[in-house]
């Protein structure tokens, strides 16, 4: 189940190929930034090459999202015990910053 990583690392991108990819991404880099990217990409390309890409089509189940059925009720959650407070009558409440509107 745990396939060995592939060992093939793609050859480095030529300056022309790099420029093409950058222009497709809409990025304008200076020569120093391109040099940094070339070095970083070499590392990332090696990582990508180590991940198996040749999986059987039925393995698509391995890349799936769970969507709850429409009738599903939310799981009941036990009430989280609040900090033990034993307020005296008329006592001030614990420190609490202004949190009136917490709608997001």
């Amino acid at each position: 189940m745990t396939a060995s990583p592939a060992t093939h690392v793609p050859p480095p991108l030529s300056p022309g190929e790099m420029q093409l990819l950058l222009s497709r991404a809409g990025l304008v880099l200076n020569p120093g930034q391109v040099a940094d990217l070339v070095l970083a990409w070499r590392q990332v390309a090696g990582l990508i090459a180590s991940i198996p890409h040749d999986r059987p089509l039925v393995d698509d189940l391995a890349f799936a999202f769970h969507v709850p059925p429409p009738a599903a009720k939310p799981i009941a959650v036990a009430a989280r015990p609040k900090p033990k407070t034993t307020p005296k009558k008329g006592a001030a409440k614990p420190a609490k910053r202004k949190q009136a509107a917490r709608k997001r």
Binding site: D36, L37, A40, I51, I75, R80, A95
Partner: protein, 464 residues
């Protein structure tokens, strides 16, 4: 209220003293503000100190205590990594891009802590957007390690690690996408806990790579992490990854002895995949002995290689981080640090097919990891190969070129924590990582706590 606070207190100790009115939250906060003023210029842990609001909150907590209120975090001073949104308080992600960003709302976790009565001391240094650092080309310098200020704190929750280790805050919040809570915990000699994804809300935490991001506590002890987790864990419908699971009282759960627990030692990780230093090997040997002494059954365990987990994690982080920052990178490229650009720009070249291959491979690795937990309750490994390296030895491409032992737990979607496992001959901390199965958060914290009780690693503090 009476009594001057000791320079170093755990959350549990301070909570007991405050509850019994032997310690004033106001005096505690004053003492910490004075420590921050005296020590932070050499540590750079804080990006912002919220002195007045902290004192106001401490006074409110004191009034509440005097009125009879109680709570484990009432009056406890904390600080937050500067990717946690704080209402009305600047939140920069340690980046020029958000230098003037003042959120309208608190992150859900911050809200829960404030509601529990915690006092915010300020906002803490991070690597830029939790990935680009340590960097010297940003408006704020990188945090430094309290055990030796020439050394790296680990990242990206760098200020959280430094502040807690130096006794500038009793606890902190960090975030962990590939090890960002556990690496600074290891290098700074504190406890850091990365929860099961979905246990702690990430709403209001500036994301790095949403399919791997987790938010969690950092503190001097595992017990303090459990106390903080009790406050911040719980379902949040506004975080799509949040899961509704029954509440657990972590601070109570950690008291159960470890007798009979099955502990797997990931020996191949640190003898082959990421070879550990001789001193770290000794820490691992002593940890195994300690756990056996506590009644655990300790055997060797095997997972896929650290490199396999890292390849998946790094490709996902590159692609997702680039996607989140693409628009800004196109317009404000020069405003990011060089370290951020090196670590994120390569994501522009990751193809969709490569990203999906990484996600599919992640599913395999999650299953392979879960299988191992059929035989073991927890796994142990070093979080790093050795002690904190020098800060000026850090390279912008480190995230790619050196596999991280910590990334395993992120990719596998399991909880993990680092506690202090021991020391080098020169007095630098060495971490021990404890990994549990999904939703085994309480067990991980319990092992960390019982290990700390059985060793003397919590007796030493940095001399500053």
């Amino acid at each position: 209220m009476k009594g001057s606070p000791a320079p170093f207190l755990t959350i549990a100790e301070a909570s007991r003293l405050i509850a019994s009115k032997r310690l004033s939250p106001v005096e505690l906060v004053r003492m910490l503000l004075a420590r921050i003023e005296a020590l932070d210029p050499q540590l750079n842990a804080f990006l912002l100190v919220t002195e007045k609001p902290a004192l106001n909150a401490a006074r409110a907590a004191e009034r509440a205590i005097m009125a009879g209120h109680k709570g484990p975090l009432l009056g406890i001073p904390l600080a937050y990594k500067d990717i946690y949104e704080t209402a009305g308080v600047r939140t920069t992600a340690h980046s020029r891009i958000l230098a003037d960003n003042v959120p309208k709302h608190d992150a859900e976790t911050v809200h829960r802590l404030q509601t529990a009565g915690a006092v915010m001391l300020g906002k803490l240094a991070t690597h830029e957007f939790a990935i680009g650092g340590p960097a010297f080309d940003l408006p704020w310098p990188p945090a430094r390690n309290p055990w030796d200020i020439r050394r790296f704190t680990g990242g990206s929750s760098s200020g959280s690690g430094a502040a807690v280790a130096a006794g500038l805050a009793l606890g902190a919040l960090g975030s962990d996408t590939g090890g960002s809570i556990r690496l600074p915990a290891a290098y700074c000699g504190i406890a850091g806990f990365k929860p099961t994804p979905g246990l702690v809300s990430r709403r209001g935490v500036i994301p790095l790579a949403p399919s791997l991001d987790t938010a969690g506590p950092m503190a001097w002890t595992a017990q303090d992490c459990a106390i903080l987790l009790d406050a911040i864990a719980g379902h949040d419908p506004a975080d799509p990854a949040s899961v509704a699971v029954p509440a657990v009282n972590y601070a109570s759960a950690i008291a159960t002895p470890l007798k009979g627990l099955r502990v797997g030692v990931l020996r191949r990780f640190y003898e082959h995949d990421v070879p550990a230093s001789p001193e770290m090997l000794q820490v691992m040997a002593r940890a195994a002995t300690t756990l056996k002494g506590l009644g655990c059954r300790v055997e060797e365990a095997t997972l896929p290689s650290v490199q396999e987990y890292n390849a998946v994690g790094r490709v996902i982080i590159s692609a997702e981080a680039y996607a989140l920052h693409e628009a800004t990178l196109k317009t404000r490229l020069a405003d990011y640090s060089r370290a951020f650009r090196v670590r994120v720009l390569a994501g522009a070249l990751v193809r969709a097919a490569d990203y999906i291959a990484a996600q599919r491979r992640r599913t395999d690795l999650i299953a392979a990891t879960a299988k191992v937990f059929e035989k073991f309750d927890v796994l142990i490994t070093p979080p790093t190969a050795g002690a904190a390296p020098l800060l000026n030895e850090q390279r912008p491409d480190d995230g790619f070129s050196r596999p991280l032992l910590t990334t395993v737990a992120n990719v596998a979607a399991v909880p993990a924590m680092v506690v202090c496992g021991g020391w080098t001959a020169s007095g630098l901390p060495l971490g021990l990582e404890i990994i549990g199965p999904s939703w085994g958060d309480a067990t991980v914290l319990r092992v960390g706590h019982q290990f700390e009780l059985a060793t003397d690693t919590r007796a030493r503090r940095p001399e500053l």
